[in-house]
Symmetry: C2
Subunit: 395 residues, 2 copies
């Protein structure tokens, strides 16, 4: 957890903001979900999009050390990078699946780096069969997303191939059957039960292969959705999939997840403004009184959503203060008139995400979901990793 006491100033170095990633929190979240799953269900880890922005290559080896045996990424490029990180840390037995599938021309790289493709279409399946090689693959069947996975026409054709006289799937062996939930974070959405029923009808398709339906939200829905493997993503990173919409039991689930990220920004400047002064581009905030404004070194180019202008809050010395005016590319302006001036001076920085202003709250204020906030974090902020096996800090 971040220390927001005024005694400790973050070391921003040559950057103007700092993102601290708590590896131990991610591991604890994985363990908690794994515990909930029970022994009959494997808990994989979805680390696509660079571990939802937190750093797949740092988190992967520590998750493997904690017992995670299966990882999901999106693209071959992500898989190759993760494979190197896992091999380099002694976890070469871990399985890596690419949700994007194996595209024409990528076959040799998949074999060289021991990557398992998720087959989303018969075209992909037939291409691998045509290689004449042996392939372990996941088969992804769509149960209501209309995005990736075999549609009902292709599913029927697959079933025909498997029962036909042509030798089934040749050298291709399904090692996982999977589908994906469209709205599992919303207990009132009937789609989940419908998808569950459809998926139950599919699991007999490959009797020897494990089956996986649940993402984070599906994992939290409990044993009905567990099957042989769950594939949590966002929950590993400390966010409940329902965000600020969490209700009832979801609020307890959310409280058990450990936040994994803290983002602090340098106070670039403390300044005064008079009543009537406009703040920021296009003067969208006009001071209603003589004010004290601090300018922080974080803006939309750092991944701080522009939609948070005049909406978000930050935390200075343990006290909340509102963002006023537009979010600039490289900075935001905060009204600290209600905060003690010495408190602001002593702090020297503000927490823009973390204790006192949660990811779920930021996402709600920005009109989006926490997933987008995390994966849009920019490259400019300095990064520090806390905990994990290596125990070192610094990016």
């Amino acid at each position: 957890m971040s220390d927001d006491s005024k005694d400790e100033r973050p070391d921003f170095g040559s950057a103007d903001s700092l993102i601290t990633i708590d590896i131990d929190a991610v591991i604890a979240n994985w363990r908690a979900l794994d515990h909930q799953n029970g022994k009959a269900t494997e808990t994989a880890a979805v680390v696509k999009a660079d571990g939802y922005g937190l750093g797949a290559l740092r988190l992967g080896p520590d998750l493997a050390a904690a017992g995670c045996r299966t990882f999901f990424v999106m693209s071959l490029a992500e898989a190759v990078a993760l494979r190197a990180a896992l091999d380099g840390s002694g976890h070469d037995a871990a399985a890596i699946f690419t949700l994007s599938g194996c595209h024409a021309g990528q076959e040799a790289d998949f074999r060289a780096h021991r990557i398992t493709p998720v087959i989303n279409s018969l075209e992909q399946l037939r291409r691998l069969m045509a290689t004449g090689d042996d392939w372990q693959v996941a088969i992804h069947v769509d149960t209501g997303m209309t995005r990736l996975g075999l549609d009902r026409v292709e599913l029927a054709a697959l079933q025909e191939m498997m029962t036909g006289q042509r030798g089934g799937l040749g050298g291709v062996t399904p090692c996982l059957l999977m589908s994906h939930l469209t709205a599992a974070e919303d207990p009132k959405d009937p789609a989940s039960a419908r998808q569950l029923a459809d998926f139950r009808n599919l699991v007999g398709l490959f009797p020897d292969a494990p089956a996986s339906l649940g993402n984070s939200a599906g994992t939290l829905l409990g044993p009905d959705y567990a099957f042989s493997m769950t594939r949590p993503g966002i929950a590993l990173y400390g966010l409940h999939p329902a965000g600020m919409d969490a209700e009832g039991a979801q609020q307890d689930e959310a409280a058990r997840l450990r936040p994994a990220i803290t983002w602090q920004a340098r106070i670039l400047q403390r300044r005064t403004a008079r009543q009537g002064d406009a703040v920021g581009y296009n003067g969208t905030h006009v001071c209603q009184r003589d004010s004290r404004i601090v300018t922080l070194g974080v803006g939309y180019a750092d991944g701080y959503p522009r939609s948070l202008g005049n909406r978000a809050r930050v935390v200075v010395g343990g006290r909340q203060a509102p963002v006023v005016g537009r979010v600039s590319m490289d900075s935001i302006t905060v009204d600290v008139t209600d905060l003690d001036a010495d408190l602001v001076d002593d702090a020297g920085h503000a927490t823009v995400l973390g204790a006192g202003y949660s990811l779920a709250q930021m996402a709600a204020d920005a009109g989006t979901i926490g997933y987008e906030i995390l994966t849009q974090l920019g490259q400019r902020p300095a990064r520090r990793f806390k905990g994990g096996q290596k125990r070192e800090t610094g990016a």
Copy 2:
């Protein structure tokens, strides 16, 4: 410019989307603005936020080769990286200013890397004076942003320091006087004229230092706003600051800027859907007819704004098609029912940003500004640079 003919498929390699950056377009835009400025006004280049997401370290040396002598970045970290790129390409005489200022503890790095701080407050000025060293600095005076720069109280104190008996500013020599326009992209906003009048009253402050007021929009406002130096940013990257709000003469200005970026995405899957099928998370799109849907390998983790769900268009084989359903983390779904199936099959990819769907249009559809789109482009897409001095391709 991108070639969207169906004859040429982009090489996505192990990635699922590809961003192509046209260095020659950036150079041409800088030259056009420099020509407009005339010989009495220097044209700097604002390459903060990694050159607005396009790659400061690739663009910087080519801009210097084209004649640009002054660069602006935000932080020390950005400045150090740019200095190395400029030195390494034989442009060690170029000046680099950091808009964030010089923060306590950074003084030695500023000197070692020959970085010029933009002084935003008297605290920063006094700290440099206290070093006893000689410093060249820019003095940033606020004329209406209430963000960075000396406020009116600090300006009065500065004037007193300079006329006092204590020896003025010691070893600190202002080499640039600057301010920043708040709404120059909107010709109807009276703020620009007010800021211009204020700035004219300031230029006598340092008779020997050049003065700079205009950003891209200010540069386009013409000679009144030019002073000794303009500091264009977004226009270098091919976007008019007014975006889709450009009116009258602004539309001609916009047409003269060369777009510098093309973003293409792999078609991960072509699939069918029946009337009534829901598409994407939470089923926000329901097919009103039997449909053909393609899933593209670009999502919000790549910087494709989530707010574009059910709003944006992409270009497949020269034809526009609508994004349907929510933007996922790693993919989007596009309705290509109205497009010839062979055209889609042959294309194999779609242009999500570029010819046929401009940055200004994307920003308008996303409810933001093109600046945010560019600076939020993710690290996962493959990148290719076209043109420039090196003339090679590939990231």
